[in-house]
Subunit: 531 residues, 2 copies
């Protein structure tokens, strides 16, 4: 099944907002119904004939058949940019400036390498494409004609080692497919980001994804034991041992490289037994500060839940953390902040951790809310992007951004980003609701995930761009990282360069020049274009 | 205090072998007393005047005083090579071919940078020097005149964040100094490699050290949250957040770079509360295979001890795992394999893990030996290098090597390396004792640490070189990594290049050329010299 071209997910699951919410948006944020309907898929004209016949033939030869080089309008539109809110607003207006000239469907590593050689020979830029769920402009290269390399045919489980608990997966596997293949052997990856239903293994690796169960299973980059990278200059194959002192960790050079160094053609991951049981609970804290202190204590001293997250006061009140519950009669309305603590594992282990963690959470001021809020969160955990579509349809603007820092800097970073978003959007005449949650905790720090909802105003993309830039500046000034798990893409690139510093960026450009001398891989994504 | 120039550690702690052991070595391995006494420190003549006066003056200016540019023979001898057995045999014969022209003692980052600029200007190679404990030729560059950069004056705690539980340490801090500074604030790093008493924070980072408590505290590279690297081209400063999706992890590019990219001038690490209590226990298994299966189960399903190690049958029998016990009347002599499981933490946590782990270990066939073997191990945990000195004095040859792989490959790797060592040394007329232990466990695999003892024979360095090369080939063929925690240096370089593969090595050389365009930093260490 293909994702909705102009929004998120399975079109059959689209849900309009209840009237009560539309009323709330109008009264609270001044949201007005949209004037114009979005364009239809078949109304969009994409430029044709962008590939010379010789180039087209070289690509056909590389992927083994005409049917694997798609140039029809619908396929190209479906591979245009990603799923950020500006991406959706643009595609809904029929803006296909960033459409690939063709979409290639290679069947394996050797075909990927053949495509890269063909691209190098013809000076053609290439964008690797997994689930197409980038929200940071990771699929829109900076210049010229390019082709998209859709990895969906590379969707196999290549190897499973039950003794070592490792699995080698192809990059085009969507997460649910990967989970199904592993479940046949009694294993799970345990990686459940909000994009879970659509995103791919290769994309997780390329962007350092982090899932909602990261407290228990770790981030995706912590699960990876080996990678194969096809580059125009040959193959890099990493991961001879789970850990090694043999030089810099090459896996960590490929992870987060966002297609700029090469195409990830296999990923070897750590897998774990499918948990016997799962338990998700809600907790209430008087304030975000109090809740954050409780999360910190569990992250530092344990026992560590598998899922651990905390909504701030606004998010708790609005109930956007449980999008399915919006407007429902039992939606949480009490003051304070809701936390979710989830446990997955053996019955004994879940019971031990849940009981011990409950003692800690009570000591930190928490009030147990029971399993109902936890189950509600679990039920709605992949629904937020559907809600965004409904908000956009209703004339609202909704977008998210995220960062991370050390625990001692969390309060300052939280205030700085909130103030930047609120100030910039209010100045522009669209005062926002700014909500935040902590969804990933570490011994030494945590992520902050912000959701913004406001009226679309006259030019929502321009408004948001200003607000987002202000937030980026606030993040850098307050000592946060420009992205905790969304990646750099083109949207974060200029701030990433400042975060990493000029010499580090030059070192990465040296790597890119060695692996991709013609600069054809995802040009302008992650690293600036050469001058 | 300075380390013994011709051996290990504090000269006052040197211990000769008991007569019973000397008899055993003679009867079992044909070890004969050495013919010649080692040379004396003052008998060694080092080449003088290797630095032009202008270069000398530039270095003096960089480090702020004549007293910080040492050219006396003793200082230079003390900075000649590292502490591998071949290193010791060579220095005991007065071989100072790899002696630095001078030893520089910078006081901080800016002075290090000034030294690097001076070296670049004068085309002078430079070797960063921490504790001088390399056992892989990491301090002996491949060619020409060079200076050693001894970081001992950079021994401060620069920052401590008790909320985030992070500390920023200078690279010249020895581990016990670092522990003392952290203990003043109630924290520990938890990094206890066998070189603990002498090795430095910068060295741990540069070589991806792993400590004996890695099951609980992680490897050193897992503790590092940020690094500052001074290079001839400027500074790289990493670590804005504990985790980030902002591109490749630059920390993991600096970790393991062994001075080839720059000089690490500060390391920000995760720290933990000083444990309330410690408990070390011995366990007996019928075989190495059975014991390894038990370790695997704890590593994969928990509960995870803080220390977890297992000696094979030979090591258990010889009792080299408890060097202090050699020849003692209560040394373990029973058949089978001894494991040590150690627990550090709060009283409650230690008690819980110890009890649960004991159930698992029993289920896996283990017999508890109580705390005595655990305490004996803990007491002797840093003694093995002293024992090696005594063995060398007695005419024996003793050396170690290590590797790691995934669990399913452990048995094959174990046999392959043992066979390679035994075969090569026996062929050369010095049949060895080959002992092995697992000392670092992960969910997906484990390390193997081999100790070899044999007669010195006529040319022990040449004999060992052949045996070591055979072991390296066996490691590569059996799918292991060329080093789990000793590093690459010059000794492992050629096998490292094969392990990483040509394109990955080229990518790292591209980084080196960008950061060290004149190739002056640790030339020939980690990466091959340019053609």
């Amino acid at each position: 099944m293909d994702m909705l071209w102009s929004g998120w997910g399975d079109p059959a699951r689209a849900t309009p907002l209840p009237g009560t919410v539309i009323g709330l948006l109008r009264d609270l944020l001044g949201v007005k119904p949209r004037g114009a309907e979005p364009v239809g898929l078949t109304d969009i004209a994409v430029p044709e004939g962008q590939l010379e016949p010789a180039v087209h033939q070289a690509l056909v030869a590389a992927v083994g058949g005409e049917e694997y080089v798609r140039t029809d309008a619908e396929t190209r539109i479906r591979h245009t940019r990603g799923k950020s809110t500006p991406d959706l607003l643009r595609i809904r207006e029929g803006d296909v400036a960033d459409t690939p000239a063709a979409v290639l469907l290679p069947a394996g590593h050797d075909e990927v390498f053949a495509v890269l050689r063909a691209c190098a020979e013809h000076g053609l830029a290439l964008v690797p494409f997994g689930g197409g769920t980038s929200v940071v402009g990771g699929l829109a290269p900076g210049r010229g004609t390019f082709v998209a390399l859709d990895l969906r045919r590379m969707d196999g489980l290549l190897a499973l080692d039950p003794v070592s608990r490792t699995a080698t997966l192809q990059p085009g596997l969507r997460a649910p497919q990967a989970e199904a293949l592993l479940a046949d052997h009694g294993f799970t990856l345990g990686h459940f980001p909000q994009s879970y239903e659509w995103a791919t293994i290769g994309g997780f690796a390329a962007t350092r994804s982090s899932g909602q169960a990261s407290a228990g299973y770790g981030r995706f980059d912590e699960m990876v034991l080996g990678l194969t990278l096809a580059t125009p200059e040959g193959t890099v194959d990493t991961g001879r041992a789970p850990r090694s002192a043999a030089g810099p960790d090459l896996r960590q050079l490929v992870l987060g490289s966002e297609g700029a160094f090469g195409v990830i053609t296999s990923v070897t991951v750590r897998v774990r037994p499918v948990p016997q049981t799962r338990l998700y609970e809600g907790w209430r804290f008087a304030s975000f500060e109090e809740g954050a202190a409780a999360l910190r204590r569990l992250a530092q001293d344990g026992p560590r839940p598998t899922v651990l997250r905390l909504s701030d006061e606004t998010e708790t009140l609005i109930g956007l953390a449980q999008p399915d519950a919006i407007g429902a009669s039992d939606a949480p309305t009490a003051a304070g902040c809701t936390a979710i603590a989830g446990y997955e594992g053996t019955v004994e282990d879940v019971s031990y951790r849940q009981e011990r963690a409950a003692v800690v959470l009570r000591e930190c001021g928490g009030t147990p809310l029971g399993e109902e809020p936890g189950e509600r969160w679990a039920h709605g955990r992949y629904s937020a992007p559907y809600l965004r579509d409904a908000l956009l349809d209703a004339g609202a603007f909704a977008e998210t951004l995220e960062t991370a820092t050390f625990w001692s800097r969390v309060p300052e970073l939280y205030s700085a980003v909130r103030d930047a978003l609120t100030g910039t959007l209010t100045e522009q005449g669209t005062p926002p609701l700014v909500m935040c949650h902590i969804s990933h905790v570490y011994e030494n720090g945590a992520s902050l995930y912000f959701t913004v909802v406001c009226a679309q105003g006259e030019d929502p993309v321009a408004h948001w761009t200003r607000a987002k830039h202000a937030a980026n500046e606030a993040i850098l000034a307050a000592g946060g990282t420009i992205t905790h798990h969304h990646g750099v893409g083109t949207d974060h690139r200029d701030w990433y360069v400042r975060e990493a510093g000029p010499l580090a960026v030059e070192a990465l450009r040296a790597v890119k020049r060695r692996l991709d001398p013609d600069g054809l891989l995802n040009p302008g994504v992650l690293l600036p274009l050469d001058d």
